[in-house]
Symmetry: D2
Subunit: 369 residues, 4 copies
């Protein structure tokens, strides 16, 4: 039998539901789990809602004060699924209390805050993971394996966009408030593709960017556009928007190497497009192939179903938290397969560079502290 | 709080895992659940394996004798996820013991057996569901809603194929044995598309079919091909194969009506293709549109995530068992949205007609008992 | 410089335009052409229309009596682009007059007529081609090359459908009249996929079919559906319809071999989907690849443009007539790369078997005379 | 009968072949043609090659001195299909001699040269067209019509990339030489998407760009990446590369408006993807629809074939030159449907801004002279 770990969670909304589902699912689908999660307590601001969430997801207790979780000795892992403005203080407090931590992205509302969170948590000596869950899409992981195998040759291009279309709606008010969210599409969507750029290609060297707010009286961006260069010499574009009508959750990227290319779109997350110049049967039959990433030998799929029985978006959290629990159990690093707080910080720094370039009109070199 | 219902399950393999996951997931994702499932006991032939399954999925008890489940008063719902040859006797016994029943497809190994199961179970007065889970794909349900709205006009065509490619592999031996399975691709895959044909269009009137076994010394079919007519006057083709190299779980169908068409493929189960002759903005912009069936107003999606955050194959079982639990709670019929044992029987009768046509070389009229 | 050949054409409608364009285009795009076509004369029933067509396409003369073409010594090639009911007599007369002949499909209105045309023309010793132009789609030719290379292993399945949606429209009246057309969707669309089945897999052994007429007072079929077997042991389905709303010119086929599969759709005729079990880089990256059949080494592409600069439907006629002119120049056979009248006859015999099976309700073995 | 116009052409390579084919084809496929082209003479540097080209395409004469064409009174239209470095002097000379002119893109090797060409030619009072042929793709024209109808609402985004993969090959040496070509991927590919951005959305206001040369010892760019803003407030990205392995002629763009979106890719040029928020049948069936732009009512299609019988890349030149001949016949402006030399100049100015931004690292406002 697996040993257990107590989980204290902050937040019961979209991300809270996704994380809670993942803890419950990994307990039996990744069998035996690295550690068996015990849902100790959940914190949230609305007493009725957090009570309901506790009943629903099986948390033994609930509280409107996140400090209760920090003080609870049964909690070994603090899961921060709260809004951006609540990432810093609770996460740092949890780490100082000796709890491992996972925090939703973006880690901080800007690079400075993210850096502070990383530094404080790292100093506490606990495991830390920034929930860039798209590293745990099987197709994305397969892409990383292909890139790292060298089969594609030198990478010349990476282009990514993350497009949604609910920017004109009146939902989730905190996401449109700079004080609470830090930024708009940039931190919410852009940070994901920045992380994937770093994960698949390497560090971003410079950004030449523009940021747009289409909606009147909104304090955060609705979209950004950037031309970027990488330390490796690769070049590309990054873009995110909440005003791309008809695009629901359209995170797409493509990378081109000297000997092959890869392409991905999140709305069809079970697929990876692969082009290889030396593919069989013959040069006359080369083309982008649609790899249905659902075979037992594909990343993470051994936990699931036979070939072609596709998984969904939520499964990325199962893989991610399974990875974290394994790192905790084995006292192993979260990176480089998972994103740790350094990755969370670095993504924030790139996002800051986007803002700086947009404001100054100049190409900005990403400078890490 | 929801009332509870005790579940006794037969089978812990592929289908057992899918059903167990569904009971556990629906308990919190469909909130509040219609009835809260309690996993009472699981039965299977291998003592070690069934013990492990019980631990893994949280069944309170386990047994190597399914009769133990029937005798257990705590069991209100008998879930038969066992191999085809074990569908009849245990399911009938459970119903006679007053338990509601859900049984995997195909209901029986042939029409006669399926009819007997249906009759016996119906006579017992319990709820019965045949697990044609693809009725619970959101895109399929949306398709049914569009068809029934009349927007497509008279339906002229339905064509479906269900293609896999593991037929040359040595796996799951019982599936290749006539005594245990009844048939091969026909009952395993073909029954699904027969059910969808009936669900979306109506009763199949005639079949003109061929059945093939490619592998030497195999007692079941590897593929079948059929031209079919419907009571409504629609015509089409049905086909299933385990020898379609590169097709992993490729259930595809298309239907054409006088004013529009629909198309679907299971490997991209979050999408429905819709063509309407009167679509906006103008005649010049008509085309098959890819509907990403992930909006809150789409069938079943209110249980899940925001638009574009796709679900997986396993979710169909959550929807299916949620439907069954609702029917039990409300004493409502399982059909026509879900498939009951009459549907299980009717699909078996069509499959028998395929075999009869293949053997006789004649067009066979589907005759229900 | 190439030698010339005089062309006499019957028909100035859809097919006449396509053939005339092809003669004019091949004269400079396939350079040097095997023979330089001289457009001698065109025949048609409407005097004004045929006069206009002659001016438009550059025929030196025009006539309302096709016998004028037969009597014209300058005509070395008789091109029959007329309606089905005018395929037999003029084509035979032309061959007897020593002219090479190309005739649109279907060769005859039924197997008997097609057989007679073939026999009479073959006896005359001239070159004869039945205009199954889809043999000359680069992707189809590439498919044939891959099949014949043996890379796919034994072929288990071939499934094809040819779907259009104008069956409820009032156009081209002769196509809906049995006396003029012989059949409806069967001969018009079905003959194409029968030819491709024979071209890519081999002879069709049996058909189990249904034929439907949806429109009242119509003497020809609107659709047919068939389960078929091949001499090789492969099995599959064939289907054609003029009532598939939203499908404009949707000829699709897929074939599955033991080690790979191919798939094609005519509305994206520049692409071939190829799946190979031993494709590079690794088993984990297998999938259907979209081959853009536009490279210089692909069939016919040397005549055209750089990679990715796609060709259209009309180009198939350029390739086809280039092939015929080459056969004439070199006194080489039209088959097996092109379809000759024996192929035209054989396709007609399979279509007759479809009708016979539909009428008798029995599986019909295709019997060639 | 149509009146005639004499054509004198400079260049017999890729573009020369495409233009010559278009003149010959439009003469009978667009019937009656606005003016009937007479191929008077063709000029090129290699005497044997230009002689062969004249024979092949039916030019009455040929010359190695383009000035011969200028001096020829029979020439009413000067077609400059030569390399970039030969765009200026011959085109200006032709215009001064009173001939209408069409010139391949990019009009000049930089904005200054393009401006000079435009000014000189406009002063001569002749018709002038810059051969941005993608304005004449039926799907692109349909897109423009939809945008201009206002159905999409305010346009927020335009993103385009033009990707090819032959940059590591040793072909067409002049294209890699700055003196002859002016730039690399930027002018060759980028100018096309700049023109489409202007055509579909409006003037580009600013660019923040990076330019890359991957190949050693090459004097031109291999790729560029740009974030752009439009005068309208729309924002987006532009990118072109000759190092996108597996992308053959992949010009793609997408635009997002407040009420709908459009997407296009040149390798499937017969299709336009259209999303409308108010599409029928219901909100539940919204999605990007694949419009097969091949109906008689679609732009340019009346010249061609029935629905679904797709056209190819070369057809864009037929439409383009048909447009020019119509403008000449009717003394009508080439713009705004076609691109005139002002459009050629403006595209060059945007390309210059890309270079300036890449060099300075600053956002550059596009300033027209």
């Amino acid at each position: 039998m697996s040993e257990t770990i107590g989980v204290g969670m902050l937040g019961y909304a979209f991300m809270g539901r996704a994380h809670a589902n993942a803890y419950k699912t990994l307990a039996y689908m990744t069998w035996p789990p690295p550690l068996a999660p015990e849902l100790v307590s959940i914190a949230g601001r609305d007493a009725d809602a957090v009570s309901d969430a506790a009943t629903r997801f099986g948390f033994a207790e609930h509280t409107t004060d996140w400090r209760t979780l920090i003080a609870d000795d049964r909690v070994g892992l603090f899961d921060n699924s709260g809004p951006n403005g609540l990432h810093g203080e609770p996460t740092i407090a949890a780490a100082r209390a000796g709890k491992h931590v996972v925090c939703e992205k973006p880690l901080g509302r800007d690079g400075a805050e993210a850096h502070e969170i990383w530094q404080q948590v790292a100093a506490a000596g606990v495991k830390h993971m920034c929930a860039f869950n798209y590293r745990f899409v099987p197709a994305v992981r397969l892409a990383r394996e292909i890139v790292r195998s060298g089969e594609l040759g030198e990478i010349h291009h990476f282009r990514a966009s993350y497009l949604q279309d609910w920017g004109a709606a009146e939902s989730d008010a905190w996401r449109f408030d700079r004080a609470a969210a830090g930024s708009g599409a940039l931190g919410d969507l852009g940070s994901h593709i920045v992380d994937l750029a770093r994960y698949l290609v390497g560090e971003i060297a410079t950004v030449s960017a523009h940021v747009a707010t289409f909606w009147p009286d909104r304090s955060v961006d609705d979209a950004f556009e950037a031309a970027v260069t990488f330390d490796t010499g690769a070049v590309g574009t990054l873009e995110a928007s909440r005003f791309a009508t008809g695009r629901k959750n359209a995170l797409r990227w493509e990378l081109n190497g000297a000997r092959g290319s890869l392409a991905f779109e999140l709305e069809r997350l079970n697929e990876l497009e692969v082009y290889m110049t030396d593919s069989r049967p013959a040069a006359a039959a080369q083309g982008f192939r649609r790899v249905l990433v659902s075979e037992a030998e594909h990343p993470f799929i051994a936990h699931w179903w036979p070939p072609g029985h596709i998984i969904g978006w939520e499964h990325t959290f199962v893989h991610e938290l399974h990875h974290l629990l394994t790192a905790i159990r084995d006292d192993a690093p979260v990176g480089p397969d998972g994103a740790d707080f350094e990755d969370g910080y670095r993504a924030a720094e790139v996002c800051d560079a986007v803002v700086a370039s947009a404001q100054s009109g100049e190409r900005v070199t990403v400078a890490y502290r």
